[in-house]
């Protein structure tokens, strides 16, 4: 299934501009940026069993760096900006990574959400970042050595597609690398890896920073897509969207991007029909939680050999 999914996704991506209008292309591009957030959450969740509810912090940091680069810092090379965004995000993420990676999954979840929210309220009040107005007048930068015009929506879509594909490939390679193997081993038995002499903390922090970097790339792409950066880019909705995509997509890496694009269209549909679309999205999250996802999507790891008696009792209590 996953073998077919990758070529299908590539064909669908390349062919999309030939069947969709300009507005829909914009939606697909936004779906790609959400897909990047989902990918970064997916990486930590599947490899280390760490559920992050705070990746909006890195998505938003990337978006703010992208916005400030063109409005204040006169930077006009998208690749330099991407590198800068990754760098700044790594600095922001480092203290969070150092703290959160020492916690169990529930502590991880709460701390990441708390940090993202603190950054959001900081952005709301700090005038340098535009306060609650956000950054307006964001224009798309040039593409450095490549002679392409990013202001064209279709060109920008292809640019976003290539960047997303690069991130997917990168994460896929990392998962297959020895580094990814060590992460999975840490997930399965942290104490054993520590006893074997692995510096568990450093591996976890490195994985966290890598994940944050991918989310930051998504933030940069989104900032130039909508040409606007607001404190909402740091908000819990961004993180929740990433999580719901990961849960629906299940274990498949490429599926996260496809689900993200579908969700974008769904959200657009909801917001064009009712001003209370947030409630609709809320109901959707409830539905996803209560119904089965795409086949056993929630099995975060291969089924454990010994069923957990506590969980079984909880299941039978109903």
């Amino acid at each position: 299934m996953s073998r077919l999914l990758v070529p299908a996704a590539v064909v669908a991506g390349i062919g999309a501009p030939f069947v969709l209008d300009v507005f829909q292309i914009g939606l697909v591009t936004r779906g790609l940026t959400w897909g990047l957030v989902a990918l970064s959450i997916w990486f930590l969740l599947r490899l280390l069993d760490q559920p992050s509810f705070g990746h909006a912090a890195f998505f938003g940091t990337g978006a703010y760096v992208a916005g400030l680069s063109v409005t204040r810092w006169q930077q006009d090379n998208v690749f330099v900006i991407l590198a800068l965004a990754v760098l700044v995000t790594a600095v922001v993420a480092l203290p969070i990574a150092l703290i959160a990676s020492r916690l169990d999954s529930i502590g991880f979840l709460l701390v990441t959400l708390a940090f993202a929210e603190m950054l959001r309220s900081l952005a709301l009040r700090w005038r340098v970042l535009g306060g609650s107005d956000g950054l307006v007048g964001v224009t798309r930068p040039g593409a450095g050595p490549f002679g392409i015009d990013l202001t064209d929506p279709v060109t920008y879509f292809y640019f976003a597609l290539v960047v997303t594909a690069a991130c997917v490939t990168g994460l896929w390679l990392v998962r297959r690398s020895s580094f990814g193997g060590v992460l999975v081993a840490i997930r399965e038995s942290e104490s054993r890896m520590r006893a074997l002499g692995y510096h568990v903390g450093a591996y976890k922090v490195a994985a966290f920073l890598l994940s944050a970097a991918v989310a930051a790339v998504g933030g940069v792409l989104n900032a130039y897509l909508v040409r606007f950066v607001s404190p909402d880019d740091l908000g819990p909705l961004v993180s929740a969207r990433g999580l719901v995509i990961v849960v629906v997509a299940g274990g498949l890496l490429t599926a996260t991007v496809l689900v993200a694009v579908l969700l974008t269209f769904g959200e657009d549909l909801a917001s064009s029909h009712t001003e209370h679309w947030l409630a609709v999205m809320g109901a959707l999250y409830v539905a996803v939680a209560l119904l089965e996802g795409i086949r056993g999507s929630l099995a975060r790891r291969p089924s454990a050999p010994v069923p957990d008696p506590v969980q079984r009792v909880a299941g039978e209590a109903s």
Binding site: P51, I99, F115, L122, A279, M281, G282, S318
Partner: protein
Amino acid sequence: MSPAQIALQLAIGLSFGLLLFLLASGFTLTFGLARFVNLTHGSVFLVSAYVATSFSGRGSYGVAVLAAGATGLLLSVVVYSLARLRWSRVGSDELVQVLLTFGVLLVFAEGGRVLWEGLPRSLPEPGFASGSWQIAGLTFPGYRLFMGAAALAIAAALWWLQERTRFGAMVRAGVDDREMLEAVGISAGPLFLAVFALSGLLAGLAGGIGAPVLGASMGQEYTVLVLAFVIVVLGGPGNLKGAFLASLVVGLADAFGKALMPTFAEFTMMGLVVLVLAWRPQGIMGGAR
């Protein structure tokens, strides 16, 4: 900062911290017993506060707070009933719980926006605790002191319930070893329901008691939720005593952070979290219960 200002910020910080404890204790109770991550607390607080502001006539303060408590209880039971629909799936996976409760949070908050038109509202201070009070030559806002005292009284009642009653003993036993609790013939279902109702009641009361100071406004569901989470993490998830200590620290950090550097108040909170967790990743109280 003059001594008078320091005393004022101490009072504001402690009373706000105690109010936050009501919110955090509900979260930590359901998490400790049922391993259930309930994000709806923020919007339960918000909707309860909105309900309280609907009773803004003279002399109706008590009614307002009780109505807020009842609202919180009701909403929390709704969340539990939803989770019960598929407990086999929801009960064992915190990621599913997060999705479920975040979705419900959005629906509740949007419901609040529809019913109260999304406008910020407030509840007038009750006559017996309005204006400012002079204590030892220092001036304190009267309602803040009353709010702290009321929250402390509720916290004391919670301690009594938890440590001195059969119900509390069952909850504590369930936190320690749920399988054993069920093995001795105590059914977990009704106990979970009671704890969810209790946590909703606490969040609702917090919304009502806090309404004259904090009011009710959209976005509040996240601001209070985050502070409650910081308390839960610093205190150690599932640990009530730790949460109580942490709530005082968080309240003080919030008050002094806002007074000393209004724009960058969040840095005080982030710094606090980083320092405490670098020192004790298990929370202030460590593994102790």
